[in-house]
Amino acid sequence: MLGIAGVLVTALIIVIKEVPYLKRKKLKREAWAFSFLLLFAIGLGIAISLQLNIPNPRNGLTTIYKPLSELLKYWIK
């Protein structure tokens, strides 16, 4: 619960800090990218604090590079 509160408060601070800047400079594309990234961050943060089973990029990278790494190990022992 505390984790979720922390994530939401951080997101709120970021919105308060950035949105006036985006409005003042009339940055449309930037605003889209900003909100997409922020939503992603909030989702990730809540998922982590609820200890959900998130697909870890580490496992993906390991799956991709594992065959090559074993080959390399064989070459330079």
């Binding site: 951080t10 997101a11 970021i14 800090k17 950035e18 800047y21 985006l22 400079k25 940055l27 594309r29 930037e30 605003a31 990218a33 900003f34 990234l37 922020l38 992603f40 961050a41 990730l44 943060g45 982590i48 998130i54 870890n56 990029p57 580490r58 990278l61 390991t62 590079y65 594992k66 090559l68 790494s69 390399l72 190990k73 330079i76 022992k77």
Partner: protein, 368 residues
């Protein structure tokens, strides 16, 4: 967006900090594991190969001197493939900065602040990283100039205070291990020079004397190679190859050995400032490359709004990347070398090959 320019000297200092970066903390351990007391030969070999890599990087920047790596991807590989490659590269830079942040948190909790939760330290460190990126390239470059003096003073203190502790037997017999030296050299390059591809986001587009900066690129590789060589030799001579192979952070163990006449001792925490400076610059430039790269891929004019959400994701990702120390070690020795080679070696060669064949194709067409 590319109005900020840094001088060739500032760029040289950034290269030094970036290549010394996390290498200084972790590499003596991995290298002594591979090649025992001959790890230092691997470092010399690795620095030699690094010159070839720098030559490769400079060659690809010469094709379009005004573009960053992400723009270069789009120019050479075409709009869509270029963008996909750029996104992969951005992910690599971002993931590396998360790895570095996790490294900093682990280092602090294991060695200095065992009671503090990892996340608190990572958030604190991430805040200064985001601050650096928001203030921009010029601020970072100037702070590099100031902090370089601190770094060198600490480094010289470290070397001088450890000289009385040197035991020459530790390094003998020389050339005993043979083939594993190559493995050690490969590991060294993976931390030392292959990540330098990230700096192609800054060089040469944001450097105001490109010709001089090219020369400085080589010189700074030489300087940082010497710094690391000194450190690795000292680790072997003072701590010994067996002991340092079993340490998670051998150079911290090295700083612990400082003891001048039972008077000057336990100054390793001050010495740790050296690591923080270099780690900071490495992380900041990974993150900077990811932010700038994303802004350029999405064709944004202003990268500032991206920094805070990306910084939040950075902290969250760094909590995920290393579930435990053993997993971190296997990732560092098995997967990381291949991951960094894909972007540090594969991407430049791909760009060169595509550009070369394009040119040839056009020439053939004209002749017909």
């Amino acid at each position: 967006m590319n109005t900020v320019k840094i001088s060739a000297r500032q760029f040289a200092l950034i290269v030094i900090f970036f290549s010394v970066g996390s290498t200084i903390l972790t590499i003596p351990g991995g290298m002594t594991q591979a090649a025992k007391q001959d790890a230092w030969i691997g470092a010399i070999l690795g620095t030699g190969i690094s010159f070839i890599l720098v030559f490769l990087y400079i060659t690809i920047t010469k094709m379009f001197p005004q573009l960053t790596l992400v723009e270069l991807n789009e120019k050479i590989l075409g709009k869509w493939i270029g963008r996909i490659v750029s996104l992969c590269f951005i992910f690599f830079a971002f993931y590396s900065s998360a790895l570095m942040l996790a490294d900093v948190g682990d280092f602090l909790t294991i060695q200095i602040l065992p009671e503090t939760p990892n996340a608190a330290l990572q958030i604190l460190f991430a805040i200064i990283v985001i601050m650096g990126v928001r203030l921009g390239l010029e601020t970072l470059a100037r702070s590099a100039e100031i902090l370089f003096i601190c770094f060198m003073v600490l480094f010289i203190i470290l070397v001088i205070t450890l000289l009385p502790k040197v035991e020459l037997e530790n390094i003998q017999p020389i050339f005993e291990s043979g083939k594993p030296i190559i493995k050690a050299a490969f590991l060294y390059i993976c931390y030392f020079s292959l990540p330098l591809v990230v700096l192609l986001m800054v060089f040469p587009a944001s450097v105001n004397q490109p010709k001089k900066a090219e020369k400085n690129f080589y010189i700074s590789i030489l300087i940082s190679g010497t710094i690391l060589l000194c450190l690795i030799i000292l680790t072997i001579l003072v701590v010994g190859s067996t002991l340092s192979a079993h340490q998670l952070y051998p150079s911290y163990a090295l700083a612990r050995m400082i003891n001048l006449e039972n008077f000057l001792q336990r100054i390793e925490a001050i010495m740790a400032a050296m690591w923080f400076i270099t780690l900071y610059f490495k992380m900041v430039f990974y993150f900077f490359a990811a932010v700038i790269g994303l802004a350029q891929t999405l064709k944004l004019n202003d990268y500032l709004p991206l920094t805070l959400p990306l910084g939040m994701i950075l902290v969250l990702l760094s909590l995920l990347v290393n579930p435990n120390t053993v997993a971190a070690e296997t990732f560092n020795t098995d997967i990381w070398p291949l991951l960094v080679s894909t972007y540090g070696l594969g991407l430049p060669i791909l760009l060169l090959a595509v550009q070369y064949s394009k040119k040839n194709f056009q020439r053939n067409k004209q002749q017909k």
